[in-house]
């Protein structure tokens, strides 16, 4: 299997009026076709910014400067034209965000939001798009897709909204799906179902998933390979089990020690 995505010494800097703050430093890694790669880290570690940079969602702010290379199928997303980047967004690379409520447009029907990316990138008719949207909703195990198609986000539960987000991002059959803390806002039992869903999508559609979470145990269960980020730097990379049982960096050790488990007490 080849590399789908290659990030080479990526740095992200916030340009304030006076101060410059480097929030991601020199991060390099790659995502292979069809794998699930996890990025772990606490708030402020730069994991979300890295994800946004890959999805091309950072360069529209003037206050952020990006250095390095992000190669998607060999194409550098950081230097290509906006138009070219746009052709990848939602088509080959799709995103699932943390807060399904605020990440969905509150005044737009679910159906239209799910099929938006194929409307932008494809040439399908309205009817075909709807068929595809229904298919995607079935994929993510939403019941009554015909009904939900005409609903608005606030009428759904948190778990259903996240399924909608995932349906919207898998409808175009992307090569890479970036999921940024997709289960943090959800209840444990629903978390569980959503994770299974990601596994299924990965298996059936052969979609590579970049799974970002603060929860190391989730990454342990879901991902084959993982990265650990701390204060903007990549401090650990490798096989998930390897990281879990033989962490090299002291921060990783501390992080693992802090995970509440049934074995130890405060």
């Amino acid at each position: 299997m080849g590399n789908l995505l290659e990030v080479k010494s990526l740095s992200i800097t916030f340009e304030g009026n006076q101060a410059r703050e480097k929030v991601v430093r020199n991060v390099s890694f790659s995502v292979m076709e069809g794998e699930i790669l996890g990025i772990a880290g606490e708030s402020g570690s730069g994991k979300t910014l890295t994800a946004l940079a890959i999805a091309g969602l950072l360069n529209r702010h003037g206050a952020v400067s990006l250095e390095g290379e992000i190669l998607f199928q060999g194409k550098n997303l950081l230097t290509c034209k906006r138009e070219e980047l746009r052709r990848y967004q939602g088509n080959d690379i799709s995103m699932v965000f943390q807060e399904p409520m605020s990440s969905l447009n509150p005044v737009m029907k679910i159906g239209r939001q799910i099929e938006e990316s194929i409307k932008i990138h494809g040439t399908l008719s309205k009817k075909e798009r709807k068929e595809k949207a229904i298919w995607a909703m079935e994929c993510v195990e939403l019941e009554n897709p015909e009904k939900i198609y005409h609903r608005y986000p606030h009428e759904l539960s948190g778990g259903m909204r996240q399924r909608v987000m995932i349906a919207a991002s898998l409808i175009s059959n992307p090569r890479l799906m970036i999921a940024d803390e997709p289960t943090t806002a959800l209840d444990v039992s629903i978390q569980h179902q959503i994770l299974k869903l990601f596994q299924k999508i990965n298996r059936e559609n052969h979609t590579a998933i970049l799974f970002i979470s603060h929860d190391l145990s989730l990454i342990y269960h879901l991902c084959g390979r993982a990265l650990v980020m701390y204060e903007g730097s990549l401090i650990e990379e490798g096989n998930t089990k390897e990281i879990f049982y033989h962490p090299r960096h002291s921060y990783t050790k501390n992080l693992i020690a802090c995970i509440p488990t049934y074995e130890k007490k405060v």
């Binding site: 746009r86 967004q89 939602g90 799709s94 995103m95 447009n105 509150p106 990138h121 606030h154």
Partner: protein, 312 residues
Amino acid sequence: MKYIIKKIFFFILTLLIVVFLTFLAFQIIPGDPAVSLLGTEGTPLKVAALREEMGLNKPVGERFLTWVLNFMKGDMGISYSYQIPVSELITDKIPVTFLLTMLSFAFIICMGIPLGIYTSKHAGSRLDRLIMTVNQVTMAIPPFFLGIILTYLFGLVLKWFVPGGYISYSDDFFGFFTYLIFPAIAIAFPKSAMVVKLFRGSIIEEAKKDYVRTAYSRGNTINGVLYGHVLKNAILPVITFLAVVFADIIAGSIIIEQVFGIPGLGRMLITSIQNRDYPVVQAIIVCIAFVVLGSNLLADILLKVLDPRIKL
């Protein structure tokens, strides 16, 4: 549907409260309407007869009911100063004020909405800063002063129109229409500046939200995000504001009619207030209340259509 019925119910209820309050307000005024109506020739005997005739001897509740029922039939009482039915006085004034209000509202929409979109899209650019500075000053201009300036500039210096040379709509509708343009601008300009500011701020606020990021992640263009996602959300507070603006336009038109010498409802109201011609004042207030509350009702319904989250 239930929402709309509820809103209409409240509209009627509020209107009734307003009508009752105005009625009550004019009941507690010192002075006897019969005396003021008769003026200097009011002998006690005549006054008593007139009181009987006007039904002033009956209790307040009964008088209110008769008044409301008569009002709905189009009988708004008799003007003290002109001695003719109020309805006759008002009917030919209504179209004047109505057109002035509508024209002003149209100006506000046509100036406020596009400028709001333009400035928010180019927020921070030189032109945006220029527009917003001018905007800030424009907001501060009282409509009647703008009216005076327009009269001076376009009426007296440039002679584009004749100040005070009002043309009745029954004589020459086109002339009437053109005469209303400057008054409408005087009302609309400061208000549209407010709309620009509010709309621009609302768009910029909305553009920071998470769903906008989602829209970009699907490959939308900037315009696609703006017109497909942001505007529908950003317009919501503007609609609420426009309902308020509508009420303000009516208030503005009262003054502007005075500035440009337009014989509309506003001018009638002022003269009636000065002459203490209460039946006329009362009738005009109720008419305005109807329009203002009606515009609020329309805004509520429009909001409900645009925003599925609204529940009562």
